[in-house]
């Protein structure tokens, strides 16, 4: 009798322990890997300051989650999917990394998400632009947090048309990314009653934009849309400024432009450009308060990517605390169930395809007269509601979405 009792209790106890082991923080450590471009083109928009944002989030959370310690490792991806995938493979296979944050170049994010899916770990993409990350390349193991090209094209184009920019001239980078943007912008402009009266494709990358800008100027269009990114966009803006495009009454609409880019260009050069952003530091008291702290740490104002890294890390740690587990699926589910309300987003939510949808903003770069300081660069023209900004699930090609 006692024997059977003992056996029973031990069986129950071991069953309970197995149950507990599944909802447990493995090796009593939550390990976060921060992977981003630390030395190349995308250094400013995420880079070492993104790591600072991540560490701020951990500090604000208290440095421990349910008694387990939080560790951070970081590496430079050199914008190379090879380098990124060998680093991340080692992280998840040997070093027990639970979550990978940062992730900037789209090719890097896609490569990393495949490895995370293989090993069932979680990735939170904050820096990448490609909307394919949660479309044809979606996995149950990553979340795309800050922005993607869909709202950039959708938001900027529809908002600018509504602001009165009826005729468009497009400057497109001649490769897949540019073509996709061009297609999206054309569709949105026409849907909203505008018209694309001309376009020119420039090689990728291009240094000298004068002939393209002159064509755009001669077209007489209300809006010159820049369907390109990175150095191409800043080069085009510099040239446009030299030729006085905005001063002569045309609007310059950039599709992918970061606060750090605008800061580098300066208000004098960039004034009047309209763009879409997921977040701006000078929107309200909450954002200002966080940005001041960020500036104390790093000496610069945060981009939307920095803010997104901070916010997503806090969300992640909250989910780990709530589920008491660092299991990727449990945490992701918890994150999907929890609406995001912090300084980064209001009523943001993570959809089943991994896309975090939240309000986006149409901004215009201030003139030097309006700008009171180095970083006082945007005025927010209008809010693009979350449900209009992002690609609707009904158009999704993601396998996780039941269509």
């Amino acid at each position: 009798m006692t024997m059977t009792k003992k056996l029973l209790t031990s069986a129950v106890a071991s069953a309970l322990m197995v149950g507990a082991a599944q909802a447990e923080i493995t090796d009593n450590t939550v390990k976060i890997g921060y992977l981003a471009d630390m030395s190349g083109t995308y250094r400013d928009l995420a880079g070492p300051n993104g790591l600072a944002a991540l560490e701020m989030a951990i500090k604000d959370f208290g440095g421990k989650v349910n008694g387990a310690k939080i560790e951070v490792v970081s590496a430079d991806d050199r914008n190379s999917p090879d380098a990124a995938s060998s680093t991340v493979r080692r992280w998840v296979e040997n070093d027990n990394v639970d979550m990978v944050a940062g992730l900037v170049a789209s090719s890097v994010s896609i490569a990393v998400s495949k490895i995370l899916e293989e090993n069932d770990k979680l990735g939170i993409v904050s820096g990448s632009a490609a909307s394919s990350i949660t479309n044809e390349h979606c996995t149950p193991n990553h979340i795309h947090y800050v922005y993607d090209t869909y709202p950039l094209a959708n938001g900027t184009a529809s908002a600018v048309v509504k602001e009165g920019g009826q005729s468009w001239y497009l400057l497109t980078a001649d490769y897949a990314f540019g073509h996709a943007l061009e297609g999206d912008v054309t569709r949105v402009v026409e849907e909203n009653g505008g018209e694309v009266i001309g376009k020119v494709r420039h090689p990728f990358p291009t240094q000298d934009f004068s002939s393209f800008i002159l064509q755009a100027q001669a077209s007489g269009a209300d809006v010159v849309g820049l369907a390109n990114a990175g150095a191409d966009t800043t080069n085009a803006i510099n040239t446009a400024s030299e030729f006085g495009v905005t001063q002569s009454g045309q609007t310059l609409a950039a599709l992918l432009l970061f606060l750090t880019d605008v800061h580098a260009l300066g208000a004098e050069t960039a004034q009047g450009i309209q763009l879409t952003t997921g977040w701006y530091w000078d929107m309200n008291d909450e954002t200002r308060e966080w940005s001041d702290r960020f500036m104390e740490e790093t000496g610069v104002r945060p981009t939307m990517v920095h803010a997104g890294i901070y916010s997503s890390t806090l969300q992640y740690l909250n989910a780990v605390a709530a589920t008491g587990s660092d299991n990727a699926q449990a945490v992701r589910e918890q994150m999907m169930d929890t609406p995001i309300n912090d300084m980064f987003a209001k009523n943001g939510r993570i959809r089943e395809d991994g896309r975090m949808v939240h309000d986006m903003y149409l901004a215009e770069v201030k003139t030097p007269a309006e700008s009171s300081s180095d970083w006082d660069l945007y005025k927010i023209l209008r809010t693009i509601p979350a449900d209009q900004a992002y690609r609707p699930l009904s158009e999704s090609k993601c396998d996780l979405v039941n269509n």
Binding site: S86, R89, I110, A130, F177
Partner: protein, 331 residues
């Protein structure tokens, strides 16, 4: 006092010398082989495979640059052509064995190499380098524009599949020994080529091309053959790399990659067999170690400084300098 020296003695001593040298080489190679076989026990296999793929790429490049004296600035094109071809075939035709995918990638790179060689071999020196660079840029733009490569996003999720339908390559260790076997086979092939009469002609072309012409060799034909061989091995490196990492990206086609392989070869020691392998190991390691540590903002400047230092102070690279040192002090 003056003893006559018999020519047979000299001959004998040269032979002995060569024998002892051969023995030393065999020993070095044997030790290296053991190290490579045991390496995955201590070091992460994917990282080792990366080193092996880049070593093969550098060995291929060195065959052209170090032994024939032709500086190609377009080798990234072959690496990428091999990688994309293999990746495309393995992703879209699941019936195809991994080995067939790799062979197909190598063949495409070989064909591309032939086309490059026929066009570029007509010029010499810097003009040759510029022609290869221009052709490689054409190939780069083709890959940027093509839909099947995924453009900027790259090609992802290439299945590793099975070797001869028997051995699963999903397992990192199996994959490692496969890559190692291919690498050793290629290394021995290059060793054989360099030591053969054909290789002697290549060296002759490097040292004094007009002399080789005057001796009656059809120099252009030799150059083309060396170029095609080098392109084929570079393509093979790219094909294996795409299987190892399960992705192929534009980085492989970018001219930075052509520059990186020059750096690897120079740092390791051009014109030596082991040099490119040591150089590739060194560069991949430096990049990895720096990218993890506090110096990660400085990877490119540091690599640049190493490059300048090598060119200014250690012209013959790591292996070349060691060989010189041994010749001075140990023989």
């Amino acid at each position: 006092m003056n003893q006559p020296i018999k020519s047979t003695d000299i001959h004998q001593s040269i032979l002995d010398d060569q024998k002892s040298q051969d023995r030393r080489k065999m020993m070095i190679n044997g030790v290296l082989l053991l190290v490579l076989l045991a390496a995955p026990l201590a070091i992460y296999p994917v990282f080792l495979m990366k080193i092996l793929c880049f070593s093969l790429f550098a060995v291929a490049f060195n065959l052209l640059f170090g032994f024939t004296g032709l500086l190609s600035f377009g080798h990234a094109a072959f690496l990428a052509a091999g990688g994309y071809t293999t990746g495309y075939l393995l992703s879209n035709y699941s019936g195809l064995g991994t080995e067939m995918g790799i062979i197909a990638g190598t063949l495409v790179a070989t064909g591309l190499g032939l086309a490059f060689a026929l066009l570029s071999i007509r010029r010499q020196g810097i003009y040759f380098a510029m022609v290869t660079l221009a052709l490689a840029q054409l190939v780069f733009f083709f890959f940027v524009q093509s839909e099947f490569t995924g453009g900027e996003d790259g090609m992802h999720g290439i299945p590793r599949g099975e070797l001869f339908g028997l051995v699963s390559l999903e397992d990192n260790l199996n994959m490692y020994y496969f890559v190692l076997a291919v690498f050793i086979a290629c290394y021995l092939l290059v060793q054989r080529v360099v030591g053969s009469p054909f290789g002697q002609v290549l060296k002759a072309i490097k040292q004094n091309e007009p002399r080789a012409v005057s001796l009656g060799y059809n120099v252009d034909r030799y150059k083309i053959l060396a170029f095609v061989l080098s392109a084929a091995l570079a393509g093979l490196a790219g094909s294996m790399k795409s299987v190892v990492f399960q992705l192929a990206s534009l980085n492989d086609a970018h001219w930075h990659m052509s520059g990186e392989v020059i750096l690897m070869t120079l740092v390791g020691g051009m014109g030596t067999l082991l040099g490119p392998v040591v150089g590739a190991t060194f560069v991949v390691n430096v990049e990895y170690q720096l990218s993890q540590g506090p110096l990660r903002d400085w990877v490119d400047p540091i690599l640049g400084a190493i490059f300048v230092l090598t060119v200014l102070a250690f012209r013959s690279g790591i292996v070349g300098e060691i060989q010189k040192f041994m010749r001075r002090n140990l023989s």
